[in-house]
Amino acid sequence: MNEKNRNINGVITPTEKANIFSNSLGFIKKNWIGFTLLASLYAIILVLEQVLPVSSMLFVVLKKGAIYALVAVSMNLCNGFTGLFSLGQAGFMLIGAYIYGIFTIPLEARAAVYQYFDGGIINFTVPVPVALIMAGLAAALFAYLIGLPVLRLKSDYLAIATLGFAEIIRAFFQWDKLGPVTNGSNLLRRFPVFSSTLYPFVVSSICITIIVLLINSSYGRAFKAIRDDEVAAEAMGINLAKHKQLSFTISSFFAGVGGALLAMYQTTVQAAPFKAAMTYEILLIVVIGGIGSVTGSVLSSFLFIACSEWWLRFLDSETYIGSFRIPLLASGFRKVVFSIIIMIIVLFYSQGIMGTNEISIDALLRFFKKLFRKGSKEEAT
């Protein structure tokens, strides 16, 4: 009990460091089925890429879905697990995307990209993995600085303050005077991008695994305690300011990485699309998946992207059966249908797909054991 309390306080002792290490080893040991499944998922994607034509919409959905899954899970860490209603996600993604773009555009392409700013002032590039981490770190740094004043605010005030910060960040990145670095409001392009669907999957799954590890650690328990009852959590000796700051910063780190991946997916970056609407979209994904469920967020990301990019697209094009024009179908109808579905979920299934539950290997095994037992019982009677 004592040890637990110390953990929650957030003082990392050497023994605890060792604990975290062995915990993560234990995590891998315990979850070998999970890792096998993940590996087979990778294998399936590789095979699919060989079998299906590259142009299939499936890959578009899988790529974007994997990226949104990461962003949604990172938002869930902050909003769902710590109870901090932050709406700054798009701003942090913007930082990640820009940092990635700025530091990876090949030198020979800079003159063309920064054509209004004499090739820009940054004349070195870093390898892609380093740039991804830098993207996360930059977002985390901004989040830390923003967190200092705003995390003292509560619920809706925090929401509106973070939303405001995202807008300020956006204006800042569009500023002409920063043009030699950010290319003003013009597109950044020609940076290295991924071609295989596997890439975003691997990066996202590593990041999500780290988030899950964090949620299952003593920090995660502290986060949940803060979410459930701040006063009680404080009384138990949890350092509120520190833990909120930690959750907010880490969440932004992964949002930054997600932003960098999004940049790679889109092949160009510009500040304009990273507005409040993007944050709302991610928030809705989290809500549909269930606030406080990692697997829910992942599942709903893929569903959301598949619906909006693929399955519901037919609603947008005018369709004729013979000479009869099907009513209502026209550009924009997809979004109307979509937002109605979302409203229904928000109003009547506020738990989302998963509530706060998770799909876990243990639960699966338990389920089969139960099924088996039930079956044998039935046989007995």
Binding site: L153, Y157, A161, Y280, F333
Partner: protein, 294 residues
């Protein structure tokens, strides 16, 4: 004097925009005062009012389409409350806010669908669309009318809240939701009434705003909505005079920023102001003592 002469148009524009923000901000501040809900859809209700006017005036004369627009807007505000917020009255605050974001998303998408996302030309309302000269500046009459009309409406509203029974009920609910319920206040009708007033003022605001700017787009409500909310927080949320003064300050500051050529930051400035006020004086300029905001 020279300075005033060259910069009068900025200040006039600022006062006019401030008046329009004020009419929207009142809706935010009243709803927040009672339900503790940031009604994200309020800006979009304002936008729908704009489109309603565009489509109605295409077939009907102005003296019918203007009242009809106001009625439609009020009904929409009422319907949104009944359908999207009432079922969640006992749910956590976050759920209602998400529902509000959902409604905003829905309204914008519907508007996008109906108009294909194209800008629509707002009908010209005679007289108030005409130009007049004030000193060195030429502007539309609506620019001058807006602040006057805003102040008249606010005075009427304050009287309503101070001296009528429903106003008393609203004040009671803003003070203590549960207790007023126990004392026999019919909360649902009072909340509906609040939304009706808010939407009514948003409809008036939209008439003035779009007469000034002449085109309506599906996202036309988003920015004014957010800024009006900032104004409400700035003035102290829950306080009607606070919201009005906050709106005028923000409208004028925004245009002064542009006067100095910092156009990239005119929106960002509003949010910076918001964060400064939240951190330094969370209750805003005229807010009552903080209960559980910070």
């Amino acid at each position: 004097m020279e300075f005033l002469n060259t910069n009068l148009p900025y200040i006039l524009a600022g006062i006019s925009v401030g008046g329009q923000y004020a009419l929207i901000a009142i809706g935010y501040t009243m709803v927040y005062g009672i339900l503790r809900l940031i009604n994200f859809a309020h800006g979009d209700i304002f936008m729908v009012a704009g489109f309603a006017m565009v489509y109605l005036s295409a077939t009907l004369p102005l003296y019918i389409s203007i009242p009809l627009t106001i009625i439609i807007t009020v009904l929409l505000g009422f319907a949104v409350e009944r359908m999207a917020y009432k079922p969640l009255r006992t749910a956590p605050r976050m759920s209602i806010m998400i529902s509000a974001i959902g409604v905003s998303y829905l309204l914008q998408n519907c508007a996008w669908y109906i108009t294909s996302g194209l800008a629509k030309q707002y009908p010209t309302i005679p007289w108030i669309s005409e130009s007049i000269s004030i000193g060195t500046a030429t502007t539309k009459i609506v620019t001058v009318i807006t602040p006057i009309l805003t102040i008249v409406l606010v005075i009427a509203l304050v009287i309503l809240i101070k001296y009528t029974k429903i106003g008393m009920a609203m004040r009671a609910m803003a003070k203590d939701f549960e207790t007023s319920q126990l004392m026999g206040v019919k909360i649902n009708s009072v909340i509906s009434f609040t939304f009706i007033i808010g939407s009514f003022l948003a409809a008036i605001g939209s008439l003035l705003y779009f007469t000034n700017y002449a085109t309506v787009t599906p996202i036309a409500g988003a920015m004014p909505g957010l800024k009006a909310f900032v104004a409400a927080v700035f003035g102290g949320i829950g306080s009607i005079p606070g919201a009005v003064i906050g709106a005028f300050i923000i409208g004028i500051c925004e245009n002064i920023i542009r006067m100095f050529g910092w156009t990239t930051f005119s929106d960002a400035f509003t949010f910076a102001l918001l964060i400064i006020i939240l951190v330094a004086k969370p209750t805003g300029l005229f807010g009552e003592k903080s209960t559980d905001k910070v």
